[in-house]
């Protein structure tokens, strides 16, 4: 475990999470959630939990992003607040 790499990854994860809830465009929000999942996947790979990281990469970054994009087609693309 290299703590500098952990620190950089965690900082980018927090930035992605805050950006995902503050951005106005819902499509960008979904893509930012995918980036967040992928960075968490990197973090888990780096900590040695390879199976968890693989599940996060397929489900969090792959399938759930596709579900969000499919749902955004049927609502307005911009948030109200």
């Amino acid at each position: 475990m290299i703590w500098q790499l952990d620190f950089i990854l965690l900082v980018i994860v927090v930035i992605c999470a805050i950006a995902a809830i503050s951005v106005k465009d819902l499509l960008s929000s979904a893509i930012l959630l995918g980036a967040y999942s992928f960075l968490l996947c990197l973090l888990w790979t780096e900590m040695g939990a390879v199976d968890v990281a693989f599940t996060e990469a397929t489900v969090g970054a792959g399938i759930s992003t596709a579900f969000f994009i499919g749902a955004i087609y049927h609502t307005s693309r911009r948030t109200k607040d």
């Binding site: 475990m1 900590m47 040695g48 199976d51």
Partner: protein, 89 residues
């Protein structure tokens, strides 16, 4: 309303952060998780199941009921999604 939500989130974050101080260190060999059943899995899993990946052996053999429940949950989610959204003509 947004300020209230922010205060709630900050309080929860502080509580969770305080709770993590009680957790054992990363990969600590004397933590309860690595002294109770993990040594048995590491020593016995390959001999008893002939599966080199211990995670798969635990997931699908030792904890097979859990995986069965997980599969049934996914199946139920799919069926409920079909029942709620599908329009039959």
């Amino acid at each position: 309303m947004k300020v209230l939500a922010l205060i709630a989130v900050l309080l929860t974050t502080a509580m969770l952060g305080y709770a993590t101080l009680d957790m054992p260190g990363w990969g600590d060999p004397s933590s309860p998780a690595s002294t109770h059943v993990s040594p048995v899995y590491i020593q016995e899993a390959y001999k008893k199941t002939a599966t080199p990946n211990i995670v798969t052996a635990v997931l699908a053999d030792y904890r097979s009921y859990d995986t069965l429940g997980e599969t049934v949950v996914i199946f139920t989610a799919g069926v409920v999604c079909m029942m709620l959204l599908r329009k039959v003509k």
